[in-house]
């Protein structure tokens, strides 16, 4: 980090405010028109990029965590569930990719919660802007993290012997669908990020929601072996539908029903939780 190598300050002691120079910068120039919603969101997205640049450690959870998940479950369950690890990997990889990326979405809420604690949002909230821009920009930045996590898992999978039948097109389409859903699902966490008092409680609630959603699904095993009531839950679990859709795209046999289901669920999540988030955001 070039910026981290700071030299001791030489400017504070010597600075003498001059009415003349300050006056010159105060002179009201022509104000530009307000930025469009897209421009404002992109500016906030740029902020998210800058934060990654300055605090690259925050990428740890989107790189190391998915690698560990993939290795762990492939070798833990592979032999027992599918007879061999490479066989199991064909089934597991799309699911573990969904699990990891969806788990990472919770950091959106945690990040927003800490951001608001710090006070910089006070300034953002007093700007005459399209109101959701700060949050949309933040999630745009997080989407980069989702893409990164997905790509890392894909790379590990390919190295271990994952051979998707859908080829490059199928894989890209599967990853794309996952990112779309994750963008929509992130609004659940922005709501909790605004609603709950501390980073810790956001984390706690996220885990409480995410563990059952990801594990009580078809990520690790075929639901056929589960008791009837659990199968019924898996049937309506959006994560299971997402896994089915991503799996089908990557295998080259798109399941139109599951894909439609995921797109509709994404629209519902984004609209409903987006609205709840903004309601809360305007009343923090």
């Amino acid at each position: 980090m070039s910026t981290a190598t700071a030299t001791p300050t030489g400017t504070t002691a010597s600075y003498v405010p001059s009415a003349e120079t300050l006056g010159a910068v105060m002179a009201p120039g022509a104000r530009p028109p307000r930025p469009s919603p897209v421009a404002a969101s992109l500016a906030f997205g740029w902020r998210a990029m800058l934060k990654i640049k300055h605090v690259p450690e925050q990428l740890f959870d989107v790189t190391a965590f998915p690698i560990i998940m993939t290795l762990m479950f492939t070798y833990l369950f592979g032999g027992a569930l599918a007879g061999s690890t490479s066989e199991y990997l064909q089934y597991l990889l799309p699911g573990i990719m969904v699990t990891s990326v969806v788990m990472i979405t919770m950091y959106t809420g945690v990040g927003l919660n800490t951001d608001i604690e710090k006070g910089v949002f006070d300034r953002f909230r007093t700007l005459p802007l399209w109101r959701p821009a700060a949050l949309v920009g933040m999630i745009l930045g997080d989407m980069l993290r989702y893409v990164l996590a997905g790509s890392v898992i894909l790379a590990v999978g390919l190295a271990l012997g994952f051979r998707p039948g859908g080829g490059v097109g199928g894989v890209v389409a599967g990853l794309g669908l996952l990112i779309v859903f994750s963008f929509a699902f992130s609004w659940v966490w922005t709501m909790f990020g605004l609603l709950l008092r501390s980073e810790r409680s956001v984390m706690g609630v996220s885990m409480l929601v995410l563990f059952p959603l990801t594990f009580l699904s078809n990520v690790f095993v075929q639901p056929a072996t589960m008791p009837g009531w659990l199968q019924a839950f898996v049937e309506v679990n959006p994560i299971a539908q997402l896994v089915t859709a991503v799996r089908s795209l990557m295998a080259g046999t798109p399941d139109a029903g599951a894909i439609t289901w995921v797109l509709v669920a994404s629209a519902v999540f984004a609209t409903l939780f987006g609205a709840l988030t903004m309601y809360r955001y305007n009343r923090v």
């Binding site: 910026t3 405010p17 300050l22 906030f44 007093t126």
Partner: protein
Amino acid sequence: MRDPATGLAIEASGLVKTFGSTRALDGIDLAVPAGTVYGLLGPNGAGKTTAVRVLATLLRPNGGEARVFGHDVVRDADAVRGKVSLTGQYASVDEDLTGMENLTLLGRLLGHRKPAARDRAAQLLAAFGLTEAADRQVKKYSGGMRRRVDIAASILNTPELLFLDEPTSGLDPRSRSQVWEIVRSVVAHGTTVLLTTQYLDEADRLAGRIAVVDHGRVIAEGTPGELKSSVGTGTVHVRLRDAGQRPEAGRVLAAALGAPVQAEADPVALTGRVAGDDGRLQAGERAARALSELAAAGIVVDDFSLGQPSLDEVFLVLTDRPAEPAGDEMEAA
């Protein structure tokens, strides 16, 4: 720019804001003339920050109403946001980003294209003596530099009203006077400033009018001079050439001021209370007489100063109790 009807930048009546059972604002009335510095003075927990947050559209009041340049802060919040900017008590800039990045980001959010935003950022950094620190993360800045970049961010679009929430709390004396100088330049260019502070001397130096706030209410309002004379007492501080003359000097001063005199830890220093305007004499005249009586008694005075009443004394007089913090202001905000 002012509300054409009233000439006021801020007009608030009966503002109430509750947090649970705490009444952070308990019916605040304010009338801030455009183009001036207006001080909100009070201890921690008095409701200053809450008042600023309501006026800056960050909080919705539970009762009463407020207009900024004629725009209602609840119904017409967007129009208010177009005219104000806020430098909060805690950093209102992103500490992970550099000074340059912070100001460029803000420029873009205010509608500048990226090159124009960068130019404006560089110009502001230069004016605030931060060019050298431009590419350093704000979290590595000193307290004074942080304040400056925060204020620079607030004037990026030359707001018509600037909120400064305790701009000098925690700063060293040099950084404090730098902030004061900046505030003077800002108001000289027509921006109205609403400043909150715990220090009477700060309000005195900067503000044209002051409202003293306590328990969410305005308990006194006026020019600094009016407030001080309503409080009435100040102090005179004297340093003698010869420590041996101190006992005698103490007697002369006490007689002339009509009040007890305290010996300080410094063996040549004395402090006495000066009563305010009692109809016969102003505090300054009374102190001047006391000094000439010291000279007449052959006591050599090296240095003297006339101190203002402190915020503690203002509070004591206005509320009959000392200015104890009534609670944590952040808790209430």
